[in-house]
């Protein structure tokens, strides 16, 4: 089983973050929520491996730290 990467892994962190904010520019709350939901699903499909996704769900919950 491979491990979820929780160390820096995005080669242009600032660029990605700017892009994430830009994608939400001009959207209202409902549209932004929908975009985030679609983004989660697109990324989850790219990851594919259910064991990684399970670890990601746990990591995002911030409960074990």
């Amino acid at each position: 089983m491979s491990d979820l990467i929780l160390t820096p892994n995005i080669n242009d962190a600032d660029g990605f973050y700017a892009g994430l904010l830009a994608a939400h520019d001009g959207l209202d709350k409902a549209e932004s929520d929908a975009l985030n939901a679609r983004l989660v699903l697109v990324l989850a499909n790219h990851v594919g491996d259910n064991s990684i996704l399970t670890q990601a769900l746990q990591a995002a919950a911030l409960t074990d730290r």
Partner: protein
């Protein structure tokens, strides 16, 4: 139009049991002449077990009710000698469309497996299935098989004893007492047998109502399953359209929780809803309307001593996925041969406990699948709706999201992983035929594999040696010798051998794999037979 559900199919006929001085003892009594009870009775009678079916009514069920029957159900029906009339009458389908809001988001084709006898699904009104089963009962009676249906025989009380069951039965000509060595309760979700024995039926009630309408129309809609999420004609809810024989269309409209059921059922309220869906100018007749609230629940144990529960009396699921009647037929498929062996003294009583374990596993799988479908179709929170809508929006553009769309996961037979009847896997073969799996079909020239495996223990050898017959403690196992050369399509090789050069399978009478090895080894197979009959 002739309504078959208006005509008594098994009218009340006074039984000599009603005039007996001491109660007559039967081998097996079944309560309920629905699809599950009738199929169980046929299964037992075909094996020579004497059965009496008691039903408080005398006709097939009213309205279409269960309409979607799976490949496994058709395979079971073949074993019961009545698969062909179901295929002849049923509507075959393998395509479907999914709509969201006012647009089609995608269509699908179930892509039926090549090299199997039966289609993935047929649609057929439940009353036709019941009629076919009753005709099969009558054919068995004509051949002298020990099977009887008693209409308008309502069980009013059940007394359970160590070695038999005693029933008080009410009829139009007064009550009588009758006994049976075994009782099978197939009397549906509101099972009176279950209530009379004071057994709980716990689970989750979904706060939702659905309007089901059968309409007769000459329409151009194809034989496809159409499912709508949040359509303009039923805002915030779902809808389903599916074709049945005789130009009858099944329409399911989700109505939500806070409604007046009696009001919604009235034609003056139903018809405008249907017109909004089908179009103002489509002509149709309303055949049957019902409103249901559904639940997902099961009994803790499907067996209580000499009483066995099968079908909806033991477990109930939401209708999405056609997992009600289909799973009930899988129950009787699992039970019939076990009860026969126990009655004949060839297997210990504890073999029937494996019925409980295996079918509880099946019921839990069905409850999980149908609960998940329900959670997708009816989101329970703002966030679950947001995610659901995101899946649907994505599914219109990207194929990856389509497997996430859940408008019902269609019934599949349960694999009994971990069953005490299985022996450890001793073949490096395909996972789909590991011990605990139902045998997949394969073409055999003009015929198919599954009918060759029906109703008895089989030692299936594929390019491997074994004796033609093996008897272990009263259990007879006959060999079926095949070669991958028998099937040029290679389905047999791909499904049963994989990379192995040969294999020996022990197959149960319900066409499930009990054990497999790369070659015949007498002690191992003798032990596997003992395990598969509940003796180890």
């Amino acid at each position: 139009m002739n309504k078959i559900f208006d005509v008594p199919l098994y009218a009340f006929d006074r039984s000599p049991d009603q005039d007996a001085v001491t109660p007559v003892r039967h081998k097996v009594i079944l309560i309920g002449a629905g699809p599950v009870g009738l199929a169980a009775a046929i299964d037992l009678a075909q094996q020579g077990v004497e059965v009496v079916v008691l039903d408080e009514n005398d006709k097939v069920s009213f309205g279409s009710r269960a309409i979607c029957f799976s490949q496994r159900t058709l395979d079971i029906a073949n074993r019961l000698g009545c698969g062909q009339p179901l295929l002849d009458k049923g509507v075959r389908w393998d395509r479907g469309k999914v709509f969201f809001d006012n647009r089609q988001v995608y269509d699908f084709n179930l892509q039926p497996d090549e090299g199997v006898a039966n289609p993935a699904f047929i649609n057929l009104q439940q009353y036709y299935l019941e009629q076919v089963l009753v005709e099969r009962v009558q054919a068995l009676q004509a051949e002298g098989a020990p099977i009887e249906i008693r209409g308008r025989n309502k069980v009013g009380a059940i007394g359970t004893h160590d070695d038999h069951v005693r029933l008080e039965v009410e009829t139009p000509e007064g009550p009588y007492t009758v006994e049976a060595d075994w009782l099978i309760a197939c009397d549906g979700a509101n099972s009176s047998a279950r209530k009379m024995l004071g057994i709980d039926f716990e689970g989750r009630i979904f706060e939702d109502n659905f309007l089901i309408a059968d309409v007769i129309m000459e329409a151009d809609f194809p034989s496809e399953r159409w499912f709508w999420f949040d359509p303009p004609f039923n805002r915030g809810q779902s809808a389903l359209l599916h074709k049945q024989p005789d130009n009858v269309w099944r329409i399911d409209l989700q109505l939500g929780w806070d409604i007046d059921k009696e009001r919604e059922k009235r034609p003056e309220n139903v018809i405008p809803r249907l017109k909004a869906m089908l179009g103002e100018d489509v002509e149709f007749q309303l055949e049957w309307v019902s409103i249901y609230t559904f639940q997902c629940r099961r009994m803790e144990d499907f067996r209580r001593g000499r009483v066995l529960f099968a079908g909806d009396s033991a477990h109930q699921v939401s209708p999405f996925g056609a997992r009600g009647a289909n799973s009930g037929l899988q129950d009787i498929d699992n039970l019939g041969w076990k009860l026969k062996l126990v009655i004949d003294g060839k297997a210990p009583d504890s073999l029937l406990d494996s019925y409980n374990v295996e079918r509880v596993q099946g019921a839990d799988e069905n409850i999980q699948c149908s609960s998940r479908s329900t959670d997708f179709i009816t989101p329970k929170s703002q966030m679950s709706r947001l995610l659901r809508d995101a899946v649907l929006d994505l599914s219109e553009h990207y194929e990856f999201a389509r497997p996430l769309v859940n408008s019902g996961r269609l019934s599949e037979p349960c694999t009994y992983d971990g069953s005490s009847l299985n022996s450890a896997d001793a073949l490096n073969g395909p996972t789909q035929t590991r011990p605990g799996s139902v045998c997949p079909d394969a073409p055999m020239g003009d015929a198919f594999l599954l009918p060759m495996l029906a109703g008895k223990y089989t030692l299936l050898t594929i390019d491997a040696d074994a004796p033609d017959m093996l008897v272990e403690d009263g259990i007879e196992v006959t060999r079926l010798a095949l070669s991958v050369k028998d099937d040029p399509s290679m389905a047999l090789k791909n499904r049963y051998l994989g990379k192995a050069d040969g294999a020996v399978y022990l197959i149960r009478p319900d066409q499930y794999v009990a054990a497999r090895r790369d070659s015949y080894e007498e002690n191992a197979f003798r032990q596997a037979i003992r395990r598969a009959s509940g003796k180890e």
